[in-house]
């Protein structure tokens, strides 16, 4: 069998995105900035690649309503720059944003960063979406208002779907004001100590928006008013025996955290773990491990041969795990299939009956219709 290079389609708006799916047939691989190409199951080969990186730009921004509608191929950092001009932001800080990740990619891979403790992930911040199904059908869900319970929230179905249900073309996002001040407290300590101190912080009234173990140090971030964060940072430092960082040192510490998550050594396999926060520390062993001690979401590096063990150990504790870097050869991508895999399969049949999209990403969940390769 000969391999031919795939046809690359690069839509720039909803109409051309619709045409890219309506006017083609056969498997399609949706590709954004490529920062998560290696995540979850290995994508199957496809004769058509749908490149979203030209699907960019803000469609509607009303700062007074704290909402923005943006094309899904827009890099998060570009959006943040635009919002910053109005003193606003998307309260979302997934590590790979710095590598140019698009909003659609971050959404489809259900990524999140340290701020998830304070603000949730994109599943909490996306209030509307426009999608194109494999047959070209265009559908909208949600809307431009934060409070809205009309109809099914289809955006949730796309969050974490790895492009297997539909192409997301536009997202409507809930925004937050950029806080007047932020401060970070650091304690260099062993993991066990960090876990204990984190529990103390969470039981206090100090309200950190991020609380992370980051390869040898506990980092806690506070947001609020200048005076308020100064006072709380002092209390927090006292409570855990840590130090309040200068603005520069804080930026360096968080940048290092993001690098640990998003720029691992190529030889390592990387596994993302989610579990009860109190159980997370037992999985954060090894160099370069990071984890939210309030969210229960962590990232670890392991030799490829140990990936299966990590998956099994996390599953045994009721957690979830997914591969985020695959150095070589076939590696199991998911810790376990979800309990409602039959519903997912039924949804796949309804929304993408010919299994055109997201081949391979969910390994064997959808049965024979969606094998990789």
């Amino acid at each position: 069998m000969t391999t031919t290079s795939p046809v690359v389609l690069s839509p720039t708006d909803l109409r051309s995105a619709h045409e890219a799916l309506a006017d083609t047939s056969g498997p399609v691989r949706i590709s954004g900035a490529g920062t998560a190409a290696d995540w979850a199951g290995a994508p199957g080969t496809a004769p058509t690649v749908l490149d979203t990186t030209r699907l960019t730009g803000v469609l509607a921004y009303n700062p007074a309503d704290l909402t923005v509608e943006v094309r899904a191929g827009t890099p998060l950092v570009r959006l943040q720059e635009e919002l910053a001009g109005h003193g606003q932001r998307l309260a979302f800080d997934a590590a790979r944003a710095g590598r140019g990740a698009t909003l659609g990619g971050l959404f489809a891979t259900a990524d999140s960063g340290p701020l998830a403790l304070g603000y949730g992930s994109l599943r909490d911040l996306v209030i509307g979406a426009t999608v194109v199904l494999a047959d070209g059908t265009v559908a909208r869900t949600g809307g431009h208002v934060i409070k809205n319970v009309a109809g099914y929230d289809l955006s949730k179905l796309l969050h974490g779907s790895y492009g297997a249900f539909a192409l997301v073309t536009d997202l409507v996002l809930r925004l937050h004001p950029v806080p007047a001040a932020e401060r970070t407290v650091r304690l260099e300590c062993p993991l066990d100590t960090a876990a204990g101190r984190a529990a103390t912080v969470l039981a206090s009234a100090l309200e950190p928006v991020a609380l992370e173990w980051s390869d040898g140090e506990l980092l806690a971030r506070l947001e609020g008013t200048p005076d308020g964060t100064r006072a709380r940072a002092r209390q927090l430092a006292e409570l855990i025996g840590g130090a309040v960082l200068t603005e520069d040192d804080a930026a360096t510490a968080w940048a290092r955290h993001a690098d640990l998550v998003a720029r691992p050594a190529p030889r390592d396999a990387v596994v993302r773990i989610g579990c009860r926060p109190s159980r997370l520390p037992r999985f954060l062993r090894g160099e370069g491990a990071t984890g939210g001690l309030g969210t229960g979401v962590g990232t670890v590096r392991v030799p490829p041969a140990e990936v299966a063990d990590v998956h099994d150990a996390v599953a045994a504790e009721g957690g979830t795990s997914v591969l985020r870097q695959r150095p070589a050869g076939p590696l199991r991508a998911w810790g376990r299939a979800p309990s409602a895999v039959r519903v997912l399969t039924a949804l796949k049949r309804e929304l993408d009956p010919e299994a055109r999209l997201g081949r391979g990403r969910f390994e064997t969940w959808f049965g024979g219709a969606d094998s990789g390769g």
Partner: protein
């Protein structure tokens, strides 16, 4: 007709003690909080555990009997209205708090636990459950899951969907699955999030794991009067523009204030055109600092009276006035309809002006109570059924909800679509949008047995003629496009 074989199987599934079949007993299940829609069910079952719920659903599935899950029946959109010849599965006997975990700050609940009882169970640990719908003393977490309920404090803290981690769900064919997980990480697509707010059409949640939050260090509440509704509206805009995210911002117009004050005497000013309740919470120092800012903003917009709650008792009194407003309207009008719609917050003044004019044209009074921070309106259409005003009132109420869509908002912010607004859905969504929702429903419930006839428009409910699609205002403005 529910045939004898299905009846017998249902009795066997849940036990004879947990079945209601007498006409008087059945009648008490004929409607939910939206009392205009009524349908007596063929049978009510009250299972006592998840397995019995699953057994009852399996019987329904096997015998092709439609079923409707029901909590406290406080819903305001007819979402729990029974189906003719169908079964009601009441979850009122599943009311145990299964676990409260102060370390990982979560609770596991059966669906019949009331919203307020979650907070009561968490309180000894300094924790609470954030979503607080007005009916929180009686409404159940199962119903909150079905409706994705909000409440006055969802501006800062979000809705039910932001607080539910996982659910054990009985699917429409009786299979028991888990949606969601122990953290925000997901195994693939967020089925948990699709299920939340699906109004009982995708299955029955039987064990619900919710996040608990630490009780904030400080709460500050003020009640402020304004010379006009637009002036109060500008205060809300300025609070947001100052980068402050209040725990709650509620607005009432004069008619609503009069009604509430007559009912509970909470200390509202009877002749003020508009009043705001603003609440901030969080760490003491910051809360105090921002509260002073809010007070200054109020003064700047011509606030005529500003009352700060001095203690928890005074705060409770202010909230009592606000929360009593719906029922209190009964004191100034023989009948009324509670509407629920959302507009982008910046269009509040415009929508209120339009509503006033529509009320004048219809010859009906409209009182307004709303969550001003997130643009969620609750216009109360006052009428006298004895004077033959019902039809006009219903028409006006429907027009108000559809006006919200026209202004770029939503048909519902928290009460849901249910039976009430299913026929208005084509105003907000196009044919393809609704068809995709229907495909999602098919994946969960191909036989359409689980709360059929709700949420999506059906020819039977709305007439044979499909609703006319009107372009979304953002489409007309060229901001979005539809193919």
């Amino acid at each position: 007709m529910l045939d004898q074989a299905a009846r017998d199987a249902l009795v066997a599934a849940v036990g004879a003690d947990n079945v209601i079949s007498d006409p008087v007993g059945l009648r008490s299940y004929e409607c939910d909080g939206l009392t205009g829609f009524r349908q007596v069910p063929a049978l009510v079952v009250l299972p006592r555990d998840t397995e019995s719920v699953a057994a009852a659903v399996r019987v329904c599935h096997r015998h092709s009997v439609p079923f409707v899950a029901r909590g406290a029946g406080t819903g305001l959109s007819g979402g729990a209205m029974p189906v003719a010849d169908g079964v009601v599965i009441s979850l009122q006997r599943l009311r145990r708090v299964l676990d409260v975990d102060p370390v990982d700050r979560r609770a596991v609940l059966q669906p019949g636990v009331t919203n307020l009882d979650i907070t009561k169970a968490a309180a000894p640990h300094g924790l609470y459950y954030a979503p607080d719908p007005s009916s929180q003393q009686v409404c159940t977490i199962g119903g909150n899951v079905a409706e994705n309920s909000g409440g006055a404090h969802c501006l800062k803290y979000g809705f039910t969907t932001n607080h539910v981690l996982a659910m054990t769900v009985v699917l429409p064919d009786g299979e028991v699955v888990t949606l969601g997980g122990d953290s925000g990480e997901q195994l693939g697509p967020d089925l948990r999030g699709v299920f939340l707010g699906s109004e009982g059409t995708l299955g029955i949640a039987c064990e619900i794991t919710v996040r608990l939050l630490r009780v904030p260090e400080t709460v500050r509440t003020l009640l402020a009067d304004f010379p006009s509704v637009p002036a109060a509206g500008e205060v809300v805009s300025d609070i947001v523009a100052a980068g402050i995210v209040p725990a709650a911002v509620e607005m009432m117009d004069n008619l609503a204030i009069q009604a509430a004050e007559k009912a509970v005497g909470a200390g509202y000013t009877l002749d003020t055109p508009a009043a705001l309740v603003v609440e901030l919470d969080g760490p003491e120092a910051e809360c105090g600092e921002q509260f002073e800012q809010v007070k200054a903003i109020c003064e700047r917009h011509g606030c005529t009276r500003l009352h700060v709650a001095g203690d928890a008792g005074e705060r409770a009194r202010i909230w009592k006035g606000r929360k009593a407003a719906f029922a209190a309207v009964g004191r100034i009008s023989p009948d009324y309809i509670v509407q629920d719609g959302v507009v982008p917050r910046t269009r509040l003044a415009e929508v209120l002006d339009r509503i006033a004019r529509m009320g004048d044209a219809a010859g009906l009074r409209v009182a307004n109570v709303f969550h001003a921070g997130d643009g969620n309106l609750h216009p109360l259409v006052l009428f006298d059924a004895d004077a033959g005003e019902l039809e006009r009132a219903e028409e006006l109420s429907k027009d108000i909800a559809e006006l919200c869509v026209e202004l770029g908002g939503s048909l519902s912010g928290e009460h849901g679509i249910g039976t009430d607004k299913a026929c208005s859905m084509p105003r907000m969504f196009g044919v393809d949008d609704l068809a995709v929702m229907d495909r999602v429903r098919s994946a969960f419930d191909p036989d359409r047995l689980c709360n059929p006839g709700k949420l999506l428009p059906t020819p039977r409910l709305c007439g044979e003629r499909p609703g006319v699609y009107r372009p979304h205002p953002l489409e007309e403005a060229g901001v979005i496009e539809r193919l």
